[in-house]
Amino acid sequence: MMTSRLIGFARWRAATRRGRYQGSRCERTPLSALALAVVLLGASGVAQRPAWLSFAGADRFMASPAACGAETTPVAAPVAAPIVAPVAAPVTAPVAAPVAAPVAAPAGVAPPLHQRIDHWIARGWETRGVKAAGRSDDAEFLRRVSLDLNGVIPTADRARRFLEDPDPEKRAKLIDELLASPDYALHMARLFDSLLTERRVATINSYDVAAPAWQAYLAGAFAENRPWDRIVRELLSSDGSEGPIAAGAKFFLVRDVAPHQLTRDVGRLFLGIDLQCAQCHDDPRFDDYRQADYYGIYAFLQRTMSFRDTEKNVSLIGETAKGQATFTSVFTAKAGETQPRLPGGEMLPDPPAEKDKLYLVEPGPKTRGVPAYSRRLLLAERLPRADTPGFARNIANRLWAIMLGRGLIHPLDLTHAGNRPSHPELLGELEQFLVAQAFDMRALLREIALSQTYQRSSEQPEATATAPDADAFAVAALRGLSPEQFAWSLLRAAGRYDASRPDASRPDAAASSAKPDLPPWRQRQKQLEPLERQAKAMASVFAPLPGQPDGEFQPAVDHALFLLNNPAISGLAQSAPTSLAGRLEKIDATPALADELYLSVLGRRATTEERALVDEILANASPSNASPSNASPSNAGPTGAGSTGAGPSNAGPSKAPSAGASPTAGNGTATAAARRDALQGLVWGLMLSAEFRLNH
C-alpha cells in the first residue's frame, strides 16, 4: 500500500513538476478508478508518512478524478476525508487568503524577514527529517548572487577582491552593490521580458512593440525600482500610442490582443492561477477554478481589440463599448453571464450610459475606438492591488522562484486548494512584506538574498542517501542558466563584456565615464550594444519555444553540438588583445595563469589538481602539437574517457613524462602558437563545463 501511494505521488509530482498542466485538461483523469481505489486504501498508512507527503498528494488525487471527455461525466471525488484529515501538518492557512502573521516571533521588534525565512525553512526540515547543506563558500555565493541579481557571472577581478575581502559583512555589502548596479536593471528587464512575453512575437495581425523600446521600458522601471503593482497597471492600461508607458502595450500585442489568451495569461502571470480549463467548464480537478471566474476576467478584456495604424506602422490597443460575457459549460450545458469580476472579488457592473454617449471616439476602420467606460482600464485599476486575492502572493512566489529555482507554490501558476505551498506561513510573510513595502521587489529580493536559505551550498551534506526534495530548500538547487544569463556570462568570461569598459571592476569608474546625462543603466546598455546581437543569437539556441515559460534545465544534443561546433563559441575562446585567452598569453607562471583562467570563467581559484592539469597541458603544447588551420579537426577528444583521458594528439613524441618540459629555444613562433592553441582549449573547455552551464 505504502509503495502504491508513493508511486501515485511520484506520478503526481512528475505530472506537475513541469508546470505544463494545461495538457491534462479535457480528458479522463490520469488516475483510473482503480488507481484511485489504491490511493484510498493506502490511507491507512498515512500515519507513517511524513506529513508533507500525504498532504499535497492526497489533495491532488482527491481533486483530480473527473473528466470532460464527451462520453464521461465528472466523477464526484469519493470520501476525501480519510486521507486529508489525519495529517498533522503545520499547514493550516488556506492559500486563498493572505496569512495573518502567524510568526512565533518574540514580542517587540520582529526579526528581519531574512531571519524569518530561515525560521520557516528550518521548521520544514524538522517535519521532513531533512539534513541541510552547509553555507556556500564565498566563490559559490558570489557567482550565484551575481547571476541572480545581475544576470552575469562576476569578473575575475571582482571575484579576487571578494575572496580576499576580510570584512564579515561582505556578503550583505555585495548584495547591495549588485542591487544598485545598472546590470540589475538590465538583467531584470531580460528576466521580466521572458516572464511577461514568454518569448512570443506578434503575428502578422499586429505590429509589435520594437524590442529596444520594450527593453527600455522594463529597464527604466527596474532601475527606478518601480513597484510591481504600478508596472502591472501600466501594462494593462497602455494603449500603445505615446508617452512613457507606450511600450507596455507589448503585453497585449504579443498575444495578438486575443481576449482568451489574455484572460489565461492575466490569470497565470498576475494571479498565479491557470484557468485555461475553465474556459469551457468548471475545472473538474480543482474546486476553485470556476468557469464563472474565467469569464469574470474575460469580461474585462473581451472588448479590447488591436487597431493597426498603417500610416505610422504601429498597433494600438482599442476597445469597444459593447459585448457581454456569456458562457455555457460543455459538461452541464449550464449557461451563465457575468460582469467583470476578479476571482474571489465583486461583480463590477458597467455604469448606465446613454446610447449616444458610449464612445469618446467611435471605432472605425481608420480610428481607434475609445469607449466612455473602459473595462480594460477598470482591470488595470482593480487587479494590481494588495487586496486582490492572489496578486501579492503571485509576485512573492515568483520572486522566490527567481532566487531559489522553485516556487513555494509549484508550479507557479497552479495555485489552488489542492496544491498547497510547501511553506504557507513563509509565503504569507513574503506576501505581507511586499504589501507593507508597497510592492518593492528589490527589497524582497534583498531579504531573500540575505537569508541563510539562499546562501546554502549546493553540495549535499555528506551521508545523505538521497537528495532532499527540492521543496525542502535544504540544498541549493542546480539550475540551468537562463539563455540570457548563459550568453552574457559567456561574453564576460571571454573578456568581451568588459572590453568596452576600461576599468570594469569599479562600478564608480564606469558611472563617471562620459555621457553623464544618461542614466547609468542606459550607459551600460550602450556599452553592451555591440554585443547585443551576438548575445541574442546565442541565447536563442537555448531558449524554450514561444509561449512556454523557461523551464527546468534540459541539456539537449543540439545544445551540445552548438557548443562544440559553432564558431561563435570556439571563437570566444580565441586569443585576441582583450580576450581572456589573450590575457592569459601574457602570464608566465602557471599558478597565476590558472587562477586567472578559473576566476574568469568559473569565479573561483583553480584547485591544486587543476593547476597541475594546466601545467601539463601547457607543457605539452610543443610545436609538434601545434595545429594551424590545416590540421584535421578530428572529432575532439575522448568521448567516453574519464577525466584523465588524454587527447588523441597527445601521442606525439613531445608528451613529456613530467610537467617540466619547457619549450625549446629557437622555435619561438611555433611554440607560441602551440601555447595559444592550448590556452584556447582551456578557456573553451571550462566554458563547456557543467559548472559553467549551471547556477549552483
Partner: protein, 465 residues
C-alpha cells in the same frame, strides 16, 4: 535492389484515373464471387510476391488470418529480441492535425456523414477502405487497422502529447523517448530517438518530450531533412585546442560532481557524448546518396523525403524515428485536402513497408500511422470536418502485430464505437508490447518510481502477434 527500382517506380506511379479505374473494377464485384478473384489476381500482378495465398476470414474483433496466409514473418510474441537478435525499432508516422478516419480506414459511403468518396475492396476479403488509399488497399493484408479508437481528445496540443505519451497526465515521456530509454543498450552511439518534421508549424509537434526521463532521451530534431545544426566540427579549431578543451571540461565536471545532485551534471555530459556520436555518422543525412529512383518512390514531397531519411535512420539502428506528416487539420475543404494528404501518405507508407521488408528490417520494426485525433463525422458548412476524438482509426504494420487484422468497428454513421473500442493508454501498451517491451514495468528515475504505461490501460491482445 537498384535493378528493381524502375519497376517499382512504374508500379507506384499510379494516376488518379488508374486508381479509380482499378477501384471500379474491384468495387463492381461482390466479394464472394469470381470478381474478387479477378481483383486479387490484379492485385497479384501488381504486388505479386506479397499477395496472400487466398481469401481469409476477418472479423471485427480481430481473429486475423490463418498463420499460413500471413505474409510477414512473425516475431516471437511479447518480450525478447526479434528472432534475428536485432533490437526492435519503432517508426512513427504522425499525422499531425488529425486525419479523417472516414476518408481513410473507416469509410461510410452513402451515409449522411460519409462524404463524396467511395470505399474500395482490399486484399483482405470483406474489408473495404477509402478509395484515397489504393496502395494500402492492395496491401491491407500486411496492415493492422484499429477502427475503434476512442481517445476523447479534440485538442491539438493535448492530443499530440497524449497520443504519444499514452496518458493525459503531463510530464511523462512520449513513446519515442520511452522506446529510446527502454531499448537502450550500453554501447549505443546513435541517439535513441530522432524526430523529423518540416519547418513550421512547430507548436503542435514539439509538445511532449522525454518528460522525467530527461534530455538524454529527447528527440534529436531534424527539420526539413537538414542535418542537425552544427553537425560538422569547426574548421579552424586546432586539434590541440580540442584536446585541451575536453580535458579541462572533464576535470572541472569531475570535481563539480562530488557531493552534488548528479542528474543535471550527467545530463550535460551525456549531451556531449551524443553530439560526438552523431558527428561521426553525418553521412546518414546525405540523402543525395540515395538513387533518384528511391526519391521518386518515396515521393518528391516533404513527407516522402522525410520518410526516406527515416528509413536510413532505422537502417542505422535508431530505436525510434518519428516523421510528422502535416496539414491534416481540414476544417475547410476536407475532401480536397484529404485527396492530397492521402496520396502522399498512401504511396509513401507502402514504399516504406516494401523497403523495410526487402532489407529485412520490417521483421523487427513496428510502423505506426496515427495522429492526435480523428475528424468529425459531421461535415461542417465549409465542407470541413472538425476535431474528433471519440471514434477514429489508425494503422500499424511490422513486428509484433497481426497483419490483416481489422479490429473494432463504428456504427453506420461513424459517430460511436460499436465494438473493439480502444483508449489511448491501450495503444501505448500495445506499441510497447509489439516492440517486445513489458509494458507493466516501472521506470526508476531519480528516486522516483513511475509506471511505464498507464496501469489502468491494457495492451490490445487481439492485434498482438
Amino acid at each position: 535492389m537498384s535493378g528493381s527500382d524502375s519497376t517499382r517506380s512504374d508500379r507506384l506511379s499510379w494516376t488518379r484515373r488508374d486508381m479509380l479505374a482499378q477501384t471500379a473494377t474491384m468495387a463492381a464485384g461482390t466479394f464472394a464471387s469470381g470478381a474478387l478473384v479477378t481483383a486479387l489476381a490484379d492485385s497479384q500482378r501488381v504486388f505479386g510476391s506479397e499477395r496472400p495465398a487466398g481469401p481469409a476470414p476477418v472479423t471485427s474483433t480481430g481473429a486475423g488470418m490463418p498463420a499460413a496466409t500471413r505474409v510477414e514473418p512473425m516475431p516471437a510474441p511479447s518480450a525478447g529480441p526479434a528472432p534475428s537478435g536485432k533490437r526492435r525499432q519503432l517508426l512513427l508516422l504522425f499525422q499531425s492535425g488529425g486525419a479523417s478516419q472516414l476518408e481513410t480506414w473507416d469509410p461510410k459511403p452513402g451515409a449522411r456523414t460519409g462524404g463524396p468518396y467511395r470505399a474500395i475492396a482490399t486484399s483482405v476479403p470483406g474489408v473495404q477502405i477509402g478509395e484515397l488509399l489504393p496502395h494500402c488497399a492492395r496491401n491491407l493484408h500486411r496492415l493492422t487497422v484499429l477502427r475503434g479508437v476512442n481517445s476523447g481528445i479534440g485538442d491539438h496540443f493535448q492530443g499530440h502529447y497524449a497520443l504519444q505519451a499514452g496518458r493525459v497526465a503531463t510530464g511523462y515521456p512520449v513513446i519515442g523517448s520511452a522506446v529510446a530509454k527502454l531499448l537502450e543498450r550500453p554501447d549505443d552511439i546513435l541517439p535513441g530517438y530522432v524526430s523529423i518534421r518540416r519547418d513550421a508549424p512547430k507548436a503542435y509537434t514539439d509538445v511532449g518530450d522525454a518528460g522525467f526521463l530527461g534530455a538524454r532521451y529527447e528527440a534529436v530534431k531534424i527539420v526539413n531533412n537538414r542535418p542537425p545544426a552544427n553537425l560538422a566540427a569547426p574548421a579552424n579549431v586546432p586539434a590541440a585546442a580540442l584536446a585541451a578543451a575536453e580535458r579541462a571540461r572533464q576535470a572541472a565536471d569531475a570535481r563539480f560532481r562530488r557531493g552534488r545532485a548528479a542528474a543535471p551534471i550527467d545530463g550535460h555530459d551525456t549531451a556531449f557524448h551524443r553530439a560526438r556520436a552523431l558527428m561521426q555518422r553525418s553521412e546518414l543525412f546525405a540523402l543525395e546518396q540515395e538513387p533518384a529512383a528511391a526519391h521518386e518512390r518515396y515521393g518528391r514531397h516533404e513527407f516522402g523525403q522525410h520518410c526516406l531519411l527515416a528509413r536510413r535512420l532505422i537502417e542505422a539502428g535508431v530505436s525510434c524515428v518519428r516523421v510528422v506528416h502535416f496539414d491534416w487539420d481540414a476544417h475547410q475543404d476536407n475532401f480536397y485536402w484529404h485527396q492530397i494528404r492521402c496520396a502522399e501518405f498512401d504511396r509513401t507508407f507502402i514504399t516504406l513497408l516494401d523497403d523495410l521488408s526487402e532489407r529485412g528490417l520490417l521483421e523487427h520494426t513496428l510502423v505506426v500511422a496515427v495522429g492526435e485525433m480523428g475528424r468529425t463525422p459531421q461535415i461542417n458548412n465549409l465542407g470541413g470536418r472538425d476535431h474528433w476524438g471519440r471514434a477514429w482509426s489508425m494503422a500499424m504494420a511490422g513486428c509484433g502485430v497481426k497483419p490483416g487484422v481489422i479490429h473494432g468497428a463504428t456504427n453506420d454513421e461513424g459517430t460511436e464505437v460499436k465494438s473493439g473500442q480502444v483508449k489511448l493508454g491501450d495503444l501505448f501498451h500495445t506499441y510497447l508490447r509489439a516492440l517486445g517491451i513489458d509494458s507493466s514495468q516501472m521506470y526508476h528515475v531519480g528516486g522516483q518510481t513511475n509506471p511505464v504505461a498507464d496501469p489502468a490501460a491494457r495492451p490490445i491482445t487481439e492485434v498482438l502477434a
